[in-house]
Symmetry: C2
Subunit: 192 residues, 2 copies
DNA sequence: TTTTATTATTGACCGCGGTCATTTTTCAAC
DNA sequence: GTTGAAAAATGACCGCGGTCAATAATAAAA
């Protein structure tokens, strides 16, 4: 029943993550290959999979880590009170999410927790997104006929829509932030 | 410059598609392996890739085909006039999109046209979605302060959000259609 | 019918993610 | 120290998507 973790385990894991970070910094997430990571870390391939279920699990960890950092950053900032301010306040988060097509796809894929059993860091960030925005909306100058939670879920839906369109071959006319602002304005402060 | 297409080309392509359909019917999209398809079609592996850029291209074709059929079906029906009616009218489309996690992921991934150069059937369906809904909204009992096009884009955003949540480990309480109805009501007929 | 250029097919081969029986290392008990 | 059992690391191996130089089939020209 007991499962003592040896000291070298943490060291190996740290080396794998460091190696992966290095590869990504130089070539981006898309280009990461497990074989490169294990070679850079100086371990065998099998070792990698003793530490991460699969390649995606490593990616979820790495991307989740940076995503959390962006949330921390956004939570430090002032509380926005209008639709444009909200769009602007969320910008660091959206900017990272759309920094690479691969990143966006993975985030979307993991946004709803891959498996019932375990909820990963990315899915947790999506919960945090709604909580964060709902908190803002309680005191913001927005419609009050529906709950802040529902409003916040809508903000998330529009943000994802805007981000999707950013990678779209069609619809390249408007910029991402312009589009999001239009959506949020219509959603948060309807005129009729 | 001319590029005459031989007769057997069409035959081979048809055999590949038939074989793929067969595999999918028995085991679902997720389980499709190119090796199985070529074996069932009685051709070499290389032949497959002379007909489809990659596995995803076949999937996009097959899924796009069925998606188009659902759109045709929905366009035959009566024109909905309220938020719940709109949610209900779109149900055949949403139902297919969420029939399998693999299908949903692929549709989302191809919704924004994979490459600038070619816009595939799935991306075209997303355009059609907006056109279809915008057409309905022109005569529907909904807010008139923003354009039907913008409203329709919002409907799409909320539909995707609802579908995502369907595959989500968290948020399993509400059903897909209940959630979509709540969103659309708040989006299309705001009270304040 | 033979020739010839073009188009389609083939299958050995590669890359890379992932597995697992085997070996090596760790660390506590003596 | 020595020993022994659990934990960690290893690397040969597999599955499957995808490539490409070589080959075969086609259809039009001679």
């Amino acid at each position: 029943m007991q499962k003592t973790v040896q000291k070298r385990t943490l060291k190996t894991r740290a080396r794998l993550i460091e190696a992966a970070d290095d590869v990504i910094e130089r070539h981006g997430y898309q280009a990461l290959r497990v074989e490169d990571v294990v070679q850079a870390a100086g371990v065998a391939k099998g070792t990698f999979f003793a530490h991460f279920r699969d390649k995606d699990a490593l990616m979820e960890y790495l991307i989740g880590e940076r995503l959390v950092a962006r949330f921390d950053q956004v939570e430090q900032g002032p509380i926005p009170r209008t639709a444009p301010e909200i769009a602007n306040a969320l910008q660091p988060i959206h900017s990272f999410m759309t920094s690479e097509r691969y990143v966006f796809d993975l985030i979307i894929r993991y946004s709803g927790a891959a498996a019932i059993t375990e909820i990963g860091p990315i899915a947790r960030c999506f919960e945090r997104y709604v909580r964060l925005v709902a908190g803002w909306l309680e005191t913001a100058k927005v419609r009050k006929d529906i709950s802040p939670d529902l409003l916040a879920e809508g903000v998330q839906a529009f943000a994802i829509q805007s981000m999707s369109l950013k990678f779209c071959a069609l619809h390249e006319a408007e910029s991402f932030s312009d589009r999001l602002e239009i959506y949020l304005d219509a959603w948060l402060t309807p005129a009729a």
